[in-house]
């Protein structure tokens, strides 16, 4: 539906040269391109859910069972679990960001470029 709207908009865009317009429409109609768009969308959704999921798991533990977070890490180390877990959560979010950036930059961007090259854009 959205792709269709984009195609109509591009096909009717007078400021773009005729051949450019045709190439864009060709790209948008390409099933591989549509599949890639869907994959990127699902990937984004998954990564956002990982981040929000970890955070809410932590938050719900704070709310529902704070005593778990206040137990010491070990007998020799009286630091409550809350401290390493919150540091771990921050590092994990950083890691997930890194994985996301790498995937977008090295996989999806490359595939997008190849598809554009195929139609001659």
């Amino acid at each position: 539906m959205l792709t269709y709207t984009v195609i109509v908009v591009i096909a009717g865009n007078q400021s773009m040269p005729q051949d450019q317009r045709q190439l864009h429409v060709q790209l948008l109609m390409n099933p591989d391109y549509q599949r890639l768009r869907l994959r990127i969308r699902l990937y984004r959704r998954r990564m956002a859910m990982v981040i929000a999921g970890c955070y809410f798991l932590f938050l719900l533990t704070c709310v529902g069972a704070p005593e778990l977070l206040f137990t010491p890490v070990s007998q020799s180390n009286p630091t409550p679990w809350l401290i390493p877990l919150s540091v771990f959560l921050i590092l994990l979010q950083f890691l997930v960001t890194g994985i996301y950036v790498k995937q977008m930059n090295t996989v999806f961007d490359e595939e997008m470029k190849t598809l554009r090259r195929e139609v001659g854009l």
């Binding site: 539906m1 959205l2 984004r44 990564m47 956002a48 981040i51 929000a52 955070y55 809410f56 932590f58 938050l59 719900l60 704070c62 709310v63 529902g64 704070p66 206040f70 010491p72 890490v73 020799s76 180390n77 009286p78 630091t79 409550p80 809350l82 401290i83 919150s86 540091v87 959560l89 921050i90 590092l91 979010q93 950083f94 997930v96 960001t97 890194g98 996301y100 950036v101 977008m104 930059n105 961007d109």
Partner: protein, 498 residues
Amino acid sequence: MNLTSQTLFFLMAAVPLFLLLIWSAGRIRTAAEYYAAGREYGGIRNGLAITGDYLSAASFLGITGLIVTSGYSGILYAVGFFAGWPLILILLADKLRSIGHFTLADVLRERFADRRIVLVATVGYFPVVVIYLAAQFVAMAWLLNYLFGISYDSALATLAVVAIITGLTGRMIFSSRAQIIKAILVFTVMGLLTLLAYLTTTPPLPELFSVDEVLIRLPVDVHFLPQEGDTPMALLSLGVALILGPVGLPHVMSRFFSVSDERHARMSVFYATGLIGGFYILIILLGFLAIQHLEASPWGATGTANLAAVYLSDLVGGEVLSGVLAAVLMVVLFSVMTSLILTGSSAFSHDWYALTLRPSGGYQEERRLHRLSGLVTVVTASAFALLCREQNVAYLVGLAFAFSASVSVPLLLGALYWERLTAQAALWGGVAGLLSALFALMTGPLVWVGWFGFSEPVFPWRHPALLSVSIAVVVMWYFSRKEVRNVTEGGAAGEHTD
């Protein structure tokens, strides 16, 4: 007014910094120059500039103050403030870049024909800016009070005048270079402070965080529910505001949009994420170090507890360190203040008036409206700061985020990702989110009890987000469904009559 050597060190550090900021802002006159400023740098330098944009002295002061006065609950703020950041990159930045719209108003105008939705978003953005600005004012006023010995009220009045002049004289966008310098300064001073405080602390690291150790130092229940009336559900409500709030403020990533190459932009956000994560981990450590050093609390009320980190720097680094720290914090607070006034007033004058209401209207009228809305924003925020002097500044930022989470976030994410969201549903959802957040604030512990003097709040939580976000989403869902049903029923009826 007593000028101590600390004040002198403050002035020696602050004056050149302010001059640098103003000089670098003066060089940028047009939007093209602003975007060009981002293009010069790639990767790590732009990452530092993004970090400089984002670093919040309010969360630095507020979280350390919160840990020092009430123990572990400050950690929740550190984790929550950070969690929203990667979400902006993944859910918004790439998407907004690919559709070529960078503000909430642009996105809403593109998706919905109904202009009233943009108005709701603009009005809903007002409390976010006002409360966020008030948090900066509270922190700055306490700093001035500490440095120059002037009263909180006169410090606030001075700040309001400076803010109005800044708002009226127009744009103050700081260049990437200034932001990089700012970020490096913040990390250097913070790192030095943490190191000095750590070296002079007696208990080893594991015991530093232990519940027994903290309980010895703090005369309060250090577990999560620090404030009276805070229930576990209120804590959950706070957590919702902290992670969602930043998502409603996509302009914090404006430098992401200004880099021409998408890959470099993403890489710089990755670096910025690491730096900002490190910033919050350092704050947690610093808070617990402060507990050790500040056992004989130098403050009576919670308001001055916002300066716990500054008191700590005075103890471990003397007047030089505390003067320089105060100067760096002042500069950071000031730059956040100017950008808040700018975005707040351009939301009305540019996004609403010039682009939505009267696209053909005059430039003079837009300028006038820009100044007027800047003035209203500053005056309202000053009044808010006057009434909130005893509040923790991280709490105030969290409150601003609650409004962002209740109005901007449902509208923004709805417009981008919710295909069945209708215009009517977006409109009423935005209104419902705003009204319920306002209701929860006005009848909650802060305003109802603190300002109006009633003994019991009508709405029990200090954090309204859980209620208002749920209401906004439910209203959006209900109206979208109702409209779809009406259309299908109407269509069926039409077929029958034919």
